[in-house]
C-alpha cells in the first residue's frame, strides 16, 4: 500500500488545512483486513453530516429558532468532523456554535453558510482523493501479489 500511505498525499490535503492529523489516524487504521476503511468512514461521515445539516437548516428556519436544539446538532456535527480530521469544517462549526450560544441568528446563518461551503469543498477533495487511490491501488496490489 505504498502510494496512499506516502506522506505526499496526506501532505497535499493536510497542508491545505482541510484535513488534519486525525485523518492520518484513519489511514493508519486501514490495512489488508479493512482495505477501504477510510473511504467507508468518509462516506459515512458525509451521509450523516448531510442529514445533520438538513436538520440544522430546518432548525434555523424555525421561528423563533431553537438555539438549544441547534447547539446539540452542532456539537454532533463538530464531533463528527473532528473525528475524520476535517479541521476547517470543525473550526467553522465552532464559530457557528459561538453565535448559537449568543443566540445571534444572523451570525448563525452566516457561519452556517461557511460550514456548508467547507463541507462541499471537503467532499470534493476527498472524492478526488479516493478516485486517485482507486486508480493506483489495484495495480499496486496486483504487482505485490505477483512479487
Amino acid at each position: 500500500m505504498f502510494i496512499y500511505t506516502t506522506p505526499v498525499y496526506r501532505l497535499s490535503l493536510a497542508l491545505q488545512g482541510f484535513l488534519d492529523e486525525q485523518f492520518y489516524q484513519l489511514e493508519e487504521l486501514q490495512d489488508e483486513s479493512s482495505p477501504n476503511f477510510v473511504e467507508e468512514v468518509v462516506t459515512l461521515f458525509f451521509r450523516d453530516s448531510s442529514r445533520l445539516m438538513a436538520n440544522i437548516d430546518q432548525a434555523l428556519e424555525q421561528c423563533p429558532p431553537d438555539f438549544h436544539r441547534l447547539d446539540k446538532f452542532l456539537h454532533r456535527l463538530k464531533g463528527s468532523a473532528s473525528s475524520i480530521g476535517a479541521g476547517k469544517m470543525k473550526n467553522e462549526c465552532a464559530g457557528f456554535r459561538e453565535f448559537c450560544s449568543e443566540e445571534n441568528l444572523e451570525g448563525c446563518l452566516r457561519s452556517f453558510q461557511k460550514v456548508k461551503k467547507e463541507h462541499t469543498i471537503l467532499r470534493q477533495k476527498l472524492e478526488n482523493y479516493f478516485q486517485l487511490l482507486r486508480q493506483v491501488v489495484p495495480v499496486d496490489k496486483a504487482t505485490r501479489s505477483g512479487s
Partner: protein
C-alpha cells in the same frame, strides 16, 4: 460501507479449533462501545479491533443498558459517549456503576473542565477527549485490571486465609451472628442492599491486612466459570491448583489464587449439596434484586429451570445436581444458604458473606471435607457467574459455553423484539440459524461477538444482515461473482460491479435491498439513505444518495440469490442466512481463518488478500460504470495489462531518485500553497490546485508502479531491472 469491517468481525478470538494458544491479555478484552455518532462509532470500533479487543457497538444508551443487563459478565469495559440523544452519558454511567459495576470510560469532544469533573464524580474510570487516537485506546485495559484488583483486595481482605481474624471480624459484622444462619443471611442481604457503605466498611476494616497481602485476582463470573471448567476437566477430586492454573491459562493468575479459590469452592460445594435451609433461602432470595438471586427458587430443591434460564447451565449439570442434591447428606450445616450467597453475590457482597462463610467453614471443616462433589459444583458456580465482571480470561471458556452459547443466542432472538429499533424489529430467525451454524463449527468467541454485533449494532437494520453475510462470506470472491451475475443490471449492479472490492461489500448491498423488498415492517422512508449507503460505499464516488431502489427489481435479485444458494423452503426474508449456512458448510475453514484476525495469522490474511486482489483488479473496469459484473471480471487481466503497459518506462535505481525528487517537488508545491490565505481561494482555484497536485502525484504514482511491477514486466517482455 462495509459493516463487516465495521463491527461484526471480531478483531481476534480464540482459534477456531480451540487448540491454538490463547492470546495475551489485553487482547480479547470485551468492550461495549456506545456512541450515537455513526462515524465515530465506526472509527472507534476499528481502533479497538486493531487493539485486538472484542468490540460490541451500540448507538443507543438504552440498548446498551439492556445488553449489559441481559449479558451479565459478558463485558469487561464500557466506552461511552457523553452526549447522546436518548440518555445522558452520565446517567448511563451511573446505571452501569450501580448495576453492573463495570469500568466505564467516557468520551466527548467537550473538554471543559466541569464536564470532565462530572465524569469523575459520576464514577467514570477515565475521560477521553475526542477525536480519539489509537494511543488513548491502547491502554484502556488498565482500568479493567485496576478495578478488579481493587475489588479483589476487598474480597480477599474479608475472606482470606487467616480465618481467625476473619472469624472475629465476621462476628462483629454480623449482628446476629450468634443466632445462626438466618441472622447471618439477613445480615448478608442487608449488606448487599447497602453495597456502597458495606464496601467502605470492608475496606476500612481490612485495610491494614490488605496492605500486607499480595494483590489477588477477583473471581469474576467468567474467571470462575473458567475455573469450574478446568476443575471439571480434571475431576473435582483430582483437581490440583497447578493443573487448574494451567488449564485456565489466565495471565496474572497465580497458583495461590487458584488454591485458595479451590478451597473455597470445595467447601461451598459441600454446603451447596445440602438442602438444609432452602425455605428461608427462598424467602430471602425472593426479595432480592439481583438476577442471580431471583433465578434460584430454592437451594436444596433447586429450581433448575430457573437456574438454566438465568445462567448458562449445561443440561447435564442440571440433571446431575438433581441427583447430587438428593444424595447429599444432611450434615447439619446451617450455613448452606449463606454459602450460596457468598458465592453468588457480587464482589462487594462476597466480602461480607465470606466472613460468615469462613466462620461456618471452621465448624464443618473437619467433617465435610470430602463430601459432595461432581456436577452440582458446576451449577452453583455457574450461578456465581452472573454477578462479577472482571478481566476475561481469554480463550478458554469455549467449552463452558458449548450449549450455553446456543442458549445465549436464544436470548437475542427474543430480545430483538423487545428492543425498540428505529424502523422496526428484525426477523429474529436468521440470528438463530446463523448462531447454530456458527456454533457447530465451534467458533465460540467470535460467534458470541458476532451475535452481539448482530443484535446490537443498531445503526440501522441493514447492518445486522450485512454483517452476517460479510462475516461468513467476505472472503469468497468466487461465490460473489456468481451472485453478481444474477443481480439484475440496475443501479445496484452497476455500482456493485464498479466497486467489486470484496464479496462482503457485494453482499451488504443485497441485504439492503432485501430490507426494501421483504421487510414491510421497516419504514423504508427512514432508510433510503441507509440502503443507499451500501451502494454509496460500494461506488465510492457517489455521495448524494442514489435514488431509491424500487422493490420490483429487487425481487429478482432476491430470487436470484435464493436460487444460487439452494435455499430450502426458506422464505425470502432470510435467504441471506441460508447463504451463510451454505458458505459456512463449504468454507468453514476459510471462514474460521478469516474471522480470527490475529497478527500471527497474517498468512491467511494474505490468502484473503489474494482473493481480494482478484476483486480489486476488477476495479480497473470501474471506468465503465455500465459494465456488468461478468464483463468486469473477465476484463480484469486485460485492463491490468493495459495499465501496466501504459505506465511503462525504463526501470532502474535512478528512477527511485527521480521519484524522490518528485516527492520533494510535490512537497514544495504543497508548501507553496498559502495555508493562511486559503479561505480567500475560491472553490474553483482549490480544485485547480488539486488537479495540479493530482497530476504530479499521478506521475509519481506511475513511476512507483513501475518499481513495483518490476517482476511483472517479464511477462510482458519488458527489460527487467538490473
Amino acid at each position: 460501507m462495509d459493516p463487516s469491517r465495521a463491527a461484526s468481525t471480531p478483531s481476534h478470538g480464540p482459534p477456531g479449533d480451540g487448540g491454538g494458544p490463547a492470546p495475551e491479555f489485553p487482547a480479547g478484552l470485551r468492550v461495549l462501545l456506545v456512541d450515537d455518532d455513526p462515524t465515530c462509532l465506526k472509527i472507534l470500533d476499528r481502533m479497538l479491533r486493531k487493539c485486538l479487543y472484542h468490540v460490541t457497538t451500540c448507538s443507543r444508551a438504552a440498548v446498551a443498558l439492556s445488553i449489559l443487563r441481559e449479558k451479565k459478565g459478558w463485558f469487561d469495559l464500557v466506552l461511552s459517549d457523553v452526549y447522546m440523544p436518548d440518555m445522558d452519558g452520565f446517567k448511563l454511567l451511573e446505571h452501569i456503576g450501580l448495576e453492573m459495576d463495570l469500568p466505564v470510560i467516557m468520551m466527548s469532544s467537550d473538554d471543559h473542565k466541569d464536564v470532565v469533573m462530572k465524569g469523575v464524580t459520576h464514577g467514570a474510570c477515565d475521560y477521553i477527549i475526542k477525536p480519539v487516537r489509537m494511543e488513548s485506546l491502547k491502554n484502556i485495559w488498565q482500568h479493567v485490571v485496576r478495578k478488579k484488583r481493587n475489588e479483589l483486595k476487598e474480597l480477599e481482605n474479608s475472606g482470606s486465609v487467616e480465618e481467625d481474624d476473619k472469624h472475629k471480624r465476621s462476628l462483629d459484622d454480623g449482628d446476629n451472628a450468634s443466632s445462626g444462619c438466618v441472622g447471618n443471611w439477613k445480615n448478608a442481604k442487608r449488606k448487599k442492599e447497602e453495597k456502597d457503605e458495606e464496601e467502605e466498611e470492608m475496606v476500612d476494616e481490612h485495610d491494614d491486612s490488605s496492605n500486607t497481602k499480595k494483590p489477588r485476582v477477583v473471581w469474576s463470573v467468567d474467571l470462575h466459570q473458567q475455573f469450574v471448567t478446568a476443575v471439571n476437566q480434571l475431576g473435582v477430586d483430582k483437581a490440583v491448583p497447578k493443573k487448574i492454573l494451567e488449564l485456565m491459562n489466565v495471565v496474572g493468575l497465580t497458583r495461590e489464587n487458584v488454591a485458595s479459590h479451590l478451597q473455597k469452592y470445595r467447601l461451598y460445594l459441600r454446603r451447596v449439596s445440602v438442602p438444609q435451609h432452602h425455605s428461608r433461602y427462598d424467602a430471602h432470595f425472593g426479595s432480592n434484586q439481583e438476577v442471580t438471586y431471583n433465578s434460584i427458587g430454592s437451594v436444596g430443591g433447586y429450581d433448575f429451570q430457573a437456574l438454566a434460564a438465568s445462567t448458562q447451565l449445561l443440561p447435564q449439570n442440571i440433571a446431575a445436581l438433581h441427583s447430587g442434591s438428593r444424595s447429599a447428606t444432611n450434615t447439619g450445616m446451617g450455613v448452606s444458604a449463606i454459602d450460596q450467597i457468598g458465592f453468588l453475590s457480587s464482589g462487594k457482597q462476597v466480602t461480607n458473606s465470606s466472613n460468615i462463610i469462613s466462620s461456618s467453614v471452621q465448624q464443618i471443616n473437619s467433617r465435610q471435607m470430602n463430601d459432595i462433589r461432581g456436577p452440582s459444583n458446576n451449577i452453583a458456580l455457574n450461578q456465581l457467574g452472573q454477578s462479577q465482571q472482571v478481566v476475561q480470561p481469554f480463550g478458554s471458556i469455549n467449552q463452558q459455553f458449548g450449549e450455553g452459547t446456543t442458549k445465549f443466542f436464544g436470548l437475542p432472538s427474543s430480545e430483538l423484539t423487545n428492543f425498540s429499533l428505529p424502523g422496526g424489529t428484525i426477523n429474529e430467525q436468521p440470528n438463530n440459524s446463523l448462531a447454530r451454524h456458527m456454533n457447530q463449527h465451534g467458533q465460540q468467541f467470535p460467534i458470541s461477538q458476532q451475535s452481539c454485533n448482530m443484535d446490537i449494532t443498531w445503526q440501522g437494520l441493514p447492518h445486522s444482515r450485512g454483517q452476517l453475510l460479510t462475516e461468513t462470506a467476505c472472503h469468497d470472491s468466487r461465490l460473489v461473482s456468481a451472485l453478481l451475475q444474477q443481480v439484475p443490471p440496475n443501479n445496484i449492479s452497476n455500482h456493485v460491479s464498479g466497486r467489486l472490492e470484496t464479496s462482503a461489500n457485494m453482499l451488504t448491498s443485497l441485504p439492503a435491498n432485501y430490507m426494501n423488498a421483504s421487510c414491510s415492517t421497516s419504514p423504508q422512508a427512514l432508510y433510503p439513505d441507509v440502503r443507499n449507503s451500501f451502494i454509496i460505499g460500494l461506488a465510492g464516488s457517489c455521495y448524494p444518495p442514489v435514488s431509491s431502489i424500487g422493490a420490483t427489481p429487487l425481487t429478482g435479485s432476491v430470487k436470484a440469490l435464493s436460487n444460487s444458494s439452494n435455499l430450502k423452503g426458506m422464505d425470502n426474508h432470510v435467504p441471506d442466512y441460508d447463504i451463510i449456512d451454505e458458505y459456512h458448510q463449504n468454507k468453514s475453514q476459510d471462514w474460521k481463518l478469516q474471522i480470527v484476525n490475529l497478527p500471527y495469522q497474517s498468512g491467511q490474511d494474505r490468502g484473503h488478500g489474494q482473493s481480494t486482489i482478484d476483486c480489486r483488479s476488477s476495479l480497473m473496469g470501474n471506468q465503465d460504470s455500465t459494465s456488468t459484473a461478468k464483463n468486469v471480471l473477465n476484463s480484469n487481466a486485460g485492463t491490468v495489462t493495459k495499465n501496466i503497459i501504459s505506465t511503462r518506462s525504463d526501470i532502474d535505481k535512478e528512477k527511485r531518485e527521480c521519484i524522490d525528487q518528485h516527492r520533494t517537488n510535490l512537497v514544495e508545491n504543497c508548501n507553496r500553497v498559502n495555508y493562511d490565505g486559503i479561505p480567500d481561494i475560491s472553490y474553483q482555484d482549490i480544485l485547480f490546485e488539486d488537479n495540479i497536485i493530482t497530476n504530479e502525484l499521478m506521475n509519481v504514482v506511475r513511476k512507483q508502479q513501475q518499481e513495483g511491477i518490476g517482476q511483472v514486466d517479464n511477462e510482458f517482455n519488458f527489460n527487467p531491472p538490473v
